[in-house]
């Protein structure tokens, strides 16, 4: 548990790549959807039912990992990938913040032009 927390914190700190851009790809969005149930999955499981090769899937998983949406965990000899909603939640929270600032500014504009 402790180990997991630490690695998740490290991932947050190196999450400097654009979250939206990472999600702006059909394959990656499909991978995130598969993982968002919470169950960690192996590359083989994630490749099943896809037209893409194992290597291509791995490349997409690495992109998701680079923004912290996905983490890899080792289970014996296998790498499992699991979903972490934190970067998406942070982005949404930031958008809400910007959105609220506009509400306030436009309210001031309204009183400014209507007076």
């Amino acid at each position: 548990m402790l180990q997991k927390q630490r690695s998740s914190l490290a991932a947050r700190e190196r999450a400097h790549a654009p979250v939206f851009a990472a999600l702006g790809d059909e394959t990656r969005l499909a991978l995130v959807t598969k993982l968002s149930g919470g169950q960690p999955r192996s590359i083989s499981q994630l490749t099943k039912g896809s037209k893409l090769t194992r290597q291509a899937i791995t490349k997409h998983l690495r992109v998701l990992e680079s923004v912290g949406i996905v983490h890899s965990v080792h289970a014996g000899r296998e790498s499992l990938f699991e979903f972490d909603p934190t970067p998406i939640e942070d982005m949404r929270e930031y958008l809400d913040f910007v959105s609220k600032q506009w509400d306030h500014a436009l309210t001031r504009l309204k009183s400014f032009v209507e007076d």
Partner: protein, 155 residues
């Protein structure tokens, strides 16, 4: 998840009045709470300083894109990863990611419809110092209450 913000607001004022409030740098400064160095010119950098209490350390630096009279005003502006005074002041803001803000005006029977969109959030890394934003959000909410109290008293 939506990567853009859209706001629509009906203003009971003629489109010419709203256009002036949005594009005259002194009038813009009044409601946006920023002290600008000079007029907006398409293609040029607009510089100034935020005047909103608690944010005075934040610089305003936008690039004016389009000014189509009584129709469209647009600019790009940066999103620093923290607004916390110490962190912001020490930070290098030359590489802050930017978004595009577009303010469109439309004449209505009662005045003017203003549609604001902010897009380009897909360029922005998710490394915000949200604790600082949360603190500031509290500050804004407090300020809004101050304004409400002030307006209620004045009425």
């Amino acid at each position: 998840m939506n990567d853009r913000i859209e706001k629509r607001i009906e203003l009971k004022a003629p489109i010419s009045r709203v256009w002036r409030a949005v594009t005259d740098y002194r009038e813009f400064g009044e409601w946006f709470c920023v002290k600008l160095d000079g007029p907006f010119v398409p293609g040029q950098v607009s510089r100034g300083r935020i005047t909103y209490p608690g944010y005075e350390h934040v610089k305003w630096e936008a690039v004016v894109q389009k000014m189509e009279p009584e129709r469209l005003f647009s600019f790009t502006w940066p999103h620093p990863n923290s607004l916390d005074k110490a962190e912001y002041t020490q930070g290098d803001h030359s590489k802050d990611p930017t978004t595009l803000v577009e303010i469109r005006l439309e004449k209505t029977t009662t005045g003017t419809l203003l549609v604001l969109t902010e897009s380009g959030f897909d360029n922005i890394p998710g490394n915000f110092r949200l604790e600082a934003f949360r603190r500031n959000e509290g500050g804004w909410a407090e300020q809004m209450k101050n304004i409400e109290r002030y307006v209620a008293k004045a009425a």
